[in-house]
């Protein structure tokens, strides 16, 4: 009997032990025992910076670009980015191939980036000791605090109009201006049916209802299986209902003066419920990668997404005529996502210990943002350039409309989860919110109970992360 019990115990230990323990220990083993420059950065000090005055302090890249060696021995760099988007994948491959051809003694190798759940993928790579040398960094504050990133040299910082600094040091080279979301619609369908772009929120809802009543196609296509896609809509409703009333709502949740049972937050869910009744059947199991198919196959009239979709739609059907408009807020104002973000290209602090790797990684970033190369990225993703020396883009009309809308918007701000300082969210509170939102939209949870769950999760999250008290920051 003893032997049998022991066998049962060992079987259980083998299963659960491997699951529960390996990741943690791997993480411990791989935790570097060094203090990088960014370690302990004062989180509250994170602030946008203007292009540095000490531009030109870096190396002479022209000589390097001409083929001169910047490394003492052949150097290999691993590079990971969120490759869920076809445009990003194509642009990155093209730029990396160009770089590898220009610098024969440096090889940049792109590793798969699992675009669907990129943040956790990077964390997993870190835990198993495969943190890339150069990467697209999204949770910049977390990795800066953990000392995992290398500060960028001044000459690279000076390439950009704005960057975000932590304790005076910049760790990421922003890819583009924040991706401005809006409605991309089937212009031919609109023209044929006498539909026009709405100028108020009520007109937008009326437009959705009209399309639904016609029954030709779904008014909206939503890629709800990818919860970050849900974030596009959530941010719009949150911006309309919460941020319009209190731009520092999250800070007030930290200090306890507000919580997620706030009426404005409940209205966010209500606005989402109103909009999502016009989404296509099966929206919760539709991946973002599939929404273009809906548009070009006349299965949906509109999608709400960023400018990166323009090139994808054009690639899927060059004859597809698209239009674009921002969705006004219920109070009549136009609030858009825009401006600089905290994410971007970053260099691993571990890789930077090797002088060759550091030089190669920095050179790769310089090369990436050279106008002729950055142009590839911006055009493929319809990204708004952020460099001082802007590339000349051959932009579509809809893209020009977006730029104009961002210039005329009543409010331009980063996504709710992209804010730093006292409004930074606890790790993954964003995903928890989106998942809870899906429960509300599917009717498996009511709004009050959703708010309660968010309050509970917030309370737990605050115990390990609170920029006001410094918990989880130092």
């Amino acid at each position: 009997m003893k032997r049998r019990t022991m066998a049962a115990f060992l079987a259980a230990v083998l299963t659960a032990g491997a699951l529960a323990g390996c990741g943690n220990d791997a993480g411990k083993t791989d935790t570097p025992a060094y203090n990088a420059a960014g370690s302990g950065a004062d989180h509250a000090a994170a602030a946008p910076t203007e292009a540095g005055d000490d531009a030109g302090a870096g190396a002479d890249t022209d000589a390097d670009a001409a083929g001169g060696s910047i490394v003492s021995a052949p150097t290999e760099l691993t590079y990971i980015f969120a490759d869920g988007d076809e445009g990003a994948k194509a642009a990155m491959n093209e730029i990396v191939n160009k770089f590898n051809e220009t610098y024969p003694d440096i090889t940049v190798t792109i590793e798969p980036g699992n675009g669907g759940a990129y943040s956790e993928f990077i964390k997993t790579k870190d835990s198993v000791g495969e943190f890339p040398d150069v990467m697209e960094m999204r949770d910049t504050a977390v990795y800066v605090r953990a000392g995992k990133l290398e500060p960028l040299p001044d000459d690279i910082v000076a390439l950009f109009k704005t960057t975000t600094a932590f304790d005076g040091k910049v760790y990421t080279a922003p890819f583009a201006g924040e991706n401005t979301n809006g409605i991309i619609y089937n212009k031919t369908y609109f023209d044929e049916n006498g539909l026009t772009e709405p100028t108020t929120y009520d007109e937008f809802i009326e437009l959705c209802q009209t399309i639904q009543d016609k029954g030709d196609m779904a008014p909206l296509v939503v890629g709800g299986q990818d919860i970050w896609h849900m974030g596009f809509w959530f941010h719009k409703a949150y911006n309309d209902q919460v941020l319009s009333q209190d731009p520092d709502f999250i800070e007030h949740c930290y200090d306890g003066s507000k919580d997620f049972s706030d009426e404005t937050f409940k209205k966010t869910f209500e606005e989402m419920q109103q909009i999502m009744q016009y989404a296509q059947d099966g929206w919760s199991s539709t991946p973002d990668a599939q929404i273009t198919t809906f548009m070009v196959n006349d299965m949906a009239a509109m999608m709400y997404s960023g400018t990166h979709m323009f090139s994808q739609i054009a690639a899927a059907d060059p004859d597809f005529e698209m239009g674009w408009f921002p969705v006004p807020s219920p109070d009549g104002k136009t609030r858009l996502v825009g401006g600089g973000g905290v994410g971007g290209l970053a260099i691993s602090a571990e890789a930077a210990k090797d002088p060759d790797k550091k030089a190669a990684a920095e050179e790769f970033i310089r090369f990436f943002y050279a106008p002729e190369n950055y142009k590839i990225y911006c055009e493929k993703l319809s990204a708004i350039p952020v460099t001082v020396d802007e590339p000349e883009l051959e932009a579509m009309d809809v893209f020009k409309e977006v730029v104009e809308a961002t210039n005329n918007a009543d409010d331009l701000a980063p996504m709710w989860n992209g804010r730093v300082g006292n409004n930074e969210l606890p790790p993954d509170f964003r995903n928890f919110t989106y998942k809870t939102l899906i429960e509300v939209l599917q009717g498996t949870r009511d709004i009050d109970s959703a708010c309660e769950e968010l309050n509970k999760t917030w309370k737990v999250g605050m115990e390990s992360f609170n920029p006001l008290t410094g918990v989880g920051i130092e």
Partner: protein, 295 residues
């Protein structure tokens, strides 16, 4: 030749040593250290590990999310244990009785086992797709469009659909074990019962089932463990969604540990899972072993 009691057998140690070291380093040490990490608020990235006592366990017992994951794990485990074994036994009986092509059928039914969980998850995810998937296209083609379902998006169906993939993928493996056991059943016993007038069902119930009960024990144990640790298919097909509909304990462990920067809490979930597996395994072993027939 007998060795003196208490004396170390160097040759035996040489054979045991490497496996013992690997097992200790990669299983025992992480398992033990898990107990420590489950008492901390470690985020999985930072070198700083803060001891917080039993706070993670307190949260586990009050968290609706853990309760939901436990319920989902239980539903999937029961579904997989029952249907995987029933399906596998059916296949084994069929293969055992066919007169020709035995190897062809055996290989065909085993093929899904060889496909990785990630790949099979992708294949089934495509087939389940609401707008472009195989099942809804077939229903539409057959004029049954009103029965189209959002197989993975409908919260009432999601777990069932994942369970079906698990059964499809795993049944071939259990079939082989049942088949081996069936082929060891003495034909004389079956013939004797047949001569005595026992019907096919009586022969199966009273002779075959007791004689293959060892295979039941093995297969039910394996499917129980498999059900408790299902991950790949959920990761690929639903990512625990819609919402939290298909989040199981292992998936919760992964999400909070790696995605939400709460390795301490994730490890506490892992420790709870360890105890759940120990208890369920012990109960199952006790129950099944008592029903085994020794030949």
């Amino acid at each position: 030749m007998t060795k003196k009691k208490g004396k170390i057998d160097k040759t035996a140690m040489l054979f045991i040593g490497p496996a013992f070291i690997l097992f200790t380093v990669f299983v025992v040490v992480p398992t033990i250290s898990s107990f420590y990490y489950s008492l901390t608020s470690w985020d999985g990235v930072s070198p700083k590990v803060t001891f917080i006592g039993l706070a993670n366990y307190k949260e586990i017992f009050t968290s609706a999310r853990f309760g939901n994951a436990l319920k989902n794990t239980f539903i999937l485990t029961v579904f997989i244990s029952i249907f995987e074994n029933a399906f596998a036994l059916g296949l084994a009986l069929m293969v055992d009785h066919v007169r020709w092509g035995k190897n062809v059928f055996r290989s065909a039914f085993y093929i899904p086992v060889l496909i990785s969980g990630i790949v099979s998850g992708f294949i089934w995810k495509i087939m389940y797709n609401y707008n472009f998937g195989t099942f809804n296209s077939l229903l539409q083609g057959a004029g049954l469009g009103e029965y189209k379902q959002d197989w993975l998006g409908n919260t009432a169906l999601t777990l069932l659909m994942i369970g079906i993939v698990m059964v499809w993928k795993g049944a071939g493996y259990y079939m082989i074990i049942y088949l081996a056991s069936l082929q060891s059943v003495s034909p004389e016993l079956i013939e004797a019962a047949e001569i005595d007038g026992a019907s096919a069902w009586q022969r199966f119930k009273s002779i075959t089932i007791p004689l293959i009960s060892g295979a039941f024990t093995i297969n039910l144990t394996l499917s129980l463990i498999k059900g408790l640790k299902v991950f790949d298919e959920i990761n690929v097909m639903t990512d625990g969604g819609p919402g939290f509909t298909s989040e199981t304990l292992v998936y919760l462990l992964y999400k909070v540990g790696f995605n939400e920067g709460r390795q301490g809490f994730g490890t506490a979930v892992g420790v709870m899972l360890l105890f759940i597996i120990i208890i369920l395994n012990a109960v199952q072993q006790k129950f099944l072993k008592s029903r085994e027939v020794q030949m």
